[in-house]
């Protein structure tokens, strides 16, 4: 019996050690990419990225096996429901004084989330332009590679995929799809319960709000400036008037909103709605390919253009494995990874690479892709609208929640 108290202390000590086990952060030498690659060998990268789409998960599993065989990097896809969760964690760690043992090494990010981290100095860098593959995006010709919702990236985030808001519909059920936000309301009036949009603050839902506001706002310029510099009420008044009229005509009369792109697609697949939209221009084509959506699905872009953006990956200030994170990011920019990403079996998304910068061989792969009649035409995709200033996103989301989240 006299021995037992010692055992108890031992247990406490062991527990304490277990709970503190960690590896201290690395400090890569940014002047030498080879040194970074060497340092990255054998590291683990916790990549926080949306995990609700099988395609994304499958793509990242492939990336993981590639970086494992090339660099012995162990890539762990931390599936999150929303980038905000990872941002929240980084901020919390900063507040707790955790400067070296961050739980997040790399995160998929853009827009207001990026601006939140950048403004608080919570991102590591600049490092992006050191990547050998960065040249392939031809940032001088494509300024959106260095700009995120009007905010400059300052080398703190590296491009990964392109997105554009594309609408898709079932041509059996809907003969002439509405070509503008206003037309959508007119059409929904005649055909209730055929349309819905994801619930803000889901990314796609908030984007719908921005898209609508871009069309409905009387003057567009305030949207490209910080929201505090404008009279929020008067700028957004037309939007709320519009939504007040639209909601009763939505699926479930606006008493329930889908949670995101996948659920919207599901509703489409079940023929609950006949019009939907997504950030992935190839959503419809991919849906048809795997049997979810009917062969009669078609995509298009609104007449006046739809929001288009680039999404990036960034490294938090306290990441434990910065070198490996940079190597992974560089790999994501490689022709091989981007090509695989355009493959409908995987991400099925649009590349950020500038095709002219690629070798003839690599170019061939991108041009081979024919996604069938369901994909939007290049003409469609050329009608792009710029993302508003990121501060508008949060403001719109909060206002929406105040107005519509209770009945």
């Amino acid at each position: 019996m006299k021995r037992t108290p010692n055992i108890l202390w031992l247990l406490i000590a062991v527990m304490n050690i277990c709970l503190h086990v960690s590896v201290y952060a690395d400090d890569p030498d940014l002047s030498n990419w080879q040194a970074i690659e060497d340092q990255a060998q054998g590291q683990t990268v916790y990549f926080n990225a949306f995990g609700g789409e099988t395609r994304i998960n499958r793509y990242l599993t492939w990336v993981a096996s590639e970086v494992k065989s090339r660099y012995r990097i162990d890539l762990q896809h931390v599936k999150i429901a929303d980038t905000a969760q990872a941002v929240s964690r980084v901020i919390a760690e900063k507040q707790a004084g955790n400067d070296y043992n961050g739980a997040v090494d790399l995160l998929w990010i853009n827009g207001e989330n990026f601006s939140a981290l950048k403004d608080n100095g919570l991102l590591y860098g600049p490092w992006v332009e050191l990547q050998p593959n960065f040249a392939l995006v031809d940032a001088d010709k494509n300024p959106e590679m260095r700009e995120d919702f009007t905010i400059t990236t300052d080398g703190l985030e590296s491009p990964w995929t392109r997105s554009q808001l594309v609408f898709y519909y079932d041509s059996e059920l809907l003969k002439t799809p509405p070509n503008s936000i206003r037309e959508i309301l007119a059409w929904a009036d005649e055909n209730p319960s055929e349309f819905s949009y994801p619930r803000p603050p889901a990314f796609l839902g908030s984007t719908f709000l921005k898209q609508a506001l871009l069309e409905l706002a009387i003057v567009k310029t305030p949207l490209y400036l910080p929201v505090d510099d404008s009279d929020f009420q008067s700028v957004t008044a037309p939007l709320w008037k519009y939504l007040d009229a639209l909601h009763p005509k939505l699926l479930r009369a606006g008493r329930y909103f889908p949670s995101g792109a996948a659920e919207l697609r599901r509703s489409m697949a079940d023929s609950e709605i006949s019009l939907a939209f997504s950030f992935n221009p190839n959503e419809a084509a991919l849906g048809i390919a795997n049997g979810e959506l009917p062969a009669s699905t078609r995509s298009y872009v609104l007449q006046e253009g739809t929001i288009s953006n680039v999404s990036f990956v960034a490294i938090p200030f306290n990441a434990q494995h910065k070198a490996a994170a940079m190597v992974v990011s560089n790999f994501l920019l490689s022709a091989q990874a981007q090509a695989r990403g355009s493959d409908p079996e995987y991400l099925g998304s649009t590349t950020v690479l500038s095709l002219e910068r690629l070798s003839i061989q690599d170019q061939k792969f991108f041009q081979q892709l024919d996604l069938g009649p369901a994909a939007p035409t290049n003409d469609d995709l050329s009608r792009k609208l710029q993302e508003p200033h990121p501060s508008w996103m949060g403001a719109l989301e909060e206002a929406w929640i105040q107005r519509y989240s209770a009945r």
């Binding site: 709970l19 792109a261 209770a406």
Partner: protein
């Protein structure tokens, strides 16, 4: 040695829960230095009041907290009252444990797939009976008043309550009481209700309180089935806690306290209902009715439980079909093509979460069983029942998870504990302990004391008696307790999510992550994996003793 084990047991239950709750209190009043909150203030409460739809959220939580146990209680009691020892009854009793092992999330998914406008039921009656060519625009799942939520909760809580009741039934001599009443002319169901129910109810009071708290504060089931605009309070708390704008944490803390208040109020209302019902029951008892209402009560009892089982079975069917379906357009009753692609896709993704899930549940349950056995054995050797109040045991079940886990997470961030398996296992242990204890203590304490007495008189030391007599005789209850513990651990969502910082993935966390975006088919695959695991545990618990004791007929009676 044993004394330290039971001390650890007590500390393990009480300290984290109380500490976690305490830590949640201060930020609720504006005090959290790490976030710049240096003064107590009521600001978080003012913010809370101005949240739109708060009253609605509170009402849903409160209603769920009361209606779920109420209906579960009615169904369970009427089932027991009308049970006649038939084959069906025995079947149901055997199914209870495996049914219990159905994780909340999987059950909720299955139910959603079953009753949604584009779900299985709807497809089966379309277009033939319903005339629907496209799914009807009905808000069923995620409905505003939380009816789907209630259904999902009830379907899960009934097996739990039944299990607890069956365990307690042995202490009230139901057979004798009922025969006595019947000999006085009372019809069977009424006899049970008048003579056994009043004795049984106090024994299942605490499990009922646990149900109240869970129903009023669940996050995972509410995410899947509960209303969205606005969501239940518990979902709001989770969202605020995860918000990148950290000032929302004050709001989350205040809401967590509010959640605690709601759950406790639900318990309070329940107690009032108890008193009222007791009064009515007395009058009913004294009125001396022998048979009025017998038919109605009997019917509900007879058909209620099978109905619940049917719903559960149908949910499982819905999940299975979805996991193998290829193209399946509405309103086809079955998929037009079948595929194993979903399973093939899932398998590489499954490996890590599966390993984690098994590892965590094994370690947590093994620790739990060692602690529980030590405590029970210590209690036995001291010769008196533990003075540890049974309330302490139930503490992790009586305080909403979202309340004290929040505090634990804040604590671990402050102490810079790495989110790792050790912390998650510890979190799981907190919840596994009460269930393992409850499951095992009845059998342990009621083991005929003469067995150990005989062993002692034959010269067996205490540990020889324990390992060679007690454990073999209690093998079946031990295995069931282990299976139950593992099932509980497998189904946990919030502890893994919060304490693991999202880095520790289990089958359940992945399934719920999928639910916000994945295809129905993928979700179905994950849900099935999620429910197969505990089922295997229960099958093992059922068959291992049978195989081991196949030439020992005496062991069948012990079970």
């Amino acid at each position: 040695m044993l004394r330290w084990a039971s001390l650890t047991f007590v500390l393990l239950l009480a300290v984290p829960v109380l500490l976690g709750t305490a830590i949640s209190i201060l930020p609720a009043f504006g005090y959290l230095p790490a976030l710049g909150g240096n003064q107590l203030s009521l600001a978080p409460w003012l913010d809370l009041i101005s949240v739109p739809g708060l009253t609605h959220s509170l009402s849903i939580s409160l209603i769920a907290g009361i209606v779920t146990p109420l209906i579960s209680l009615i169904f369970v009691f009427l089932f027991l009252a009308s049970a006649s020892g038939s084959k069906l009854d025995n079947w149901i009793r055997r199914l209870v444990s495996p049914l219990l092992s159905l994780p909340h999330a999987a059950a909720a998914f299955g139910l959603a797939f079953l009753i949604a406008p584009s779900g299985l039921l709807s497809r089966w009656i379309s277009p033939g009976i319903s005339g629907w060519e496209r799914p009807p625009d009905l808000l069923i799942v995620n409905d505003t008043w939380g009816l789907s939520l209630l259904l999902g909760l009830i379907v899960k809580e009934i097996p739990f309550l039944l299990l607890m009741s069956l365990a307690a039934l042995g202490q009230v001599n139901p057979a004798e009481r009922v025969s006595m009443a019947r000999s006085l002319g009372y019809s069977p169901t009424i006899s049970w209700l008048k003579t056994v129910a009043p004795g049984l109810y106090p024994l299942i009071r605490l499990p009922l309180f646990a149900i109240i708290v869970f129903s009023s504060a669940t996050v995972d089931v509410a995410l899947i089935l509960g209303p969205n605009l606005p969501p239940t309070l518990s979902v709001m708390i989770l969202n605020w806690f995860n918000d990148p704008d950290l000032s929302y944490r004050f709001l989350a803390a205040a809401a967590a306290l509010l959640q605690l208040a709601v759950s406790l109020s639900a318990i309070g209302i329940w107690i009032v209902l108890e008193k009222f019902t007791a009064y009515l029951w007395h009058r009913w008892l004294n009125a001396g009715n022998r048979s009025s209402g017998e038919i109605l009560l009997y019917t509900i009892g007879r058909f209620g439980m099978p109905l619940v089982l049917l719903i559960t079975a149908a949910s499982l069917v819905a999940l299975s079909i979805n996991s193998f379906s290829g193209v399946w357009r509405f309103p086809a009753s079955i998929p037009s093509s079948w595929t194993v692609q979903h399973w093939a896709n899932a398998i590489p993704e499954l490996l890590i979460p599966l390993t984690n899930t098994l590892f965590i549940s094994l370690i947590a349950t093994a620790s739990a069983i060692v602690l529980v056995l030590s405590t029970l054995e210590y209690e036995h050797q001291q010769g008196k029942k533990s003075t540890m109040a049974i309330w302490l045991l139930y503490l992790p079940l009586l305080i909403p998870q979202v309340v004290f886990l929040f505090g634990l997470v804040v604590l671990s961030e402050l102490l810079q504990w790495q989110a790792n398996l050790a912390l998650v296992i510890f979190g799981h242990l907190l919840f596994v302990l009460p269930y393992v204890f409850l499951s095992l203590s009845g059998a342990y304490r009621h083991l005929d004391p003469r067995w150990i007495q005989v062993a002692s008189t034959l010269g067996a030391s205490r540990s020889k008696s324990f390992f060679k007599i007690r454990i073999p005789l209690l093998l079946a209850p031990c295995l069931t307790a282990i299976a139950l513990g593992m099932a509980i651990s497998i189904s946990l969502f919030l502890p893994t999510q919060l304490l693991g910082a999202g880095r520790i993935t289990t089958i359940t966390t992945e399934a719920i992550a999928m639910s916000s975006g994945g295809s129905r088919n993928q979700i179905a695959v994950w849900a099935i994996v999620q429910l197969l695991l505990p089922m295997l545990g229960f099958v093992a618990a059922l068959y291992i003793p049978r195989i081991l004791w196949r030439s020992r007929t005496g062991m069948k009676e012990i079970q």
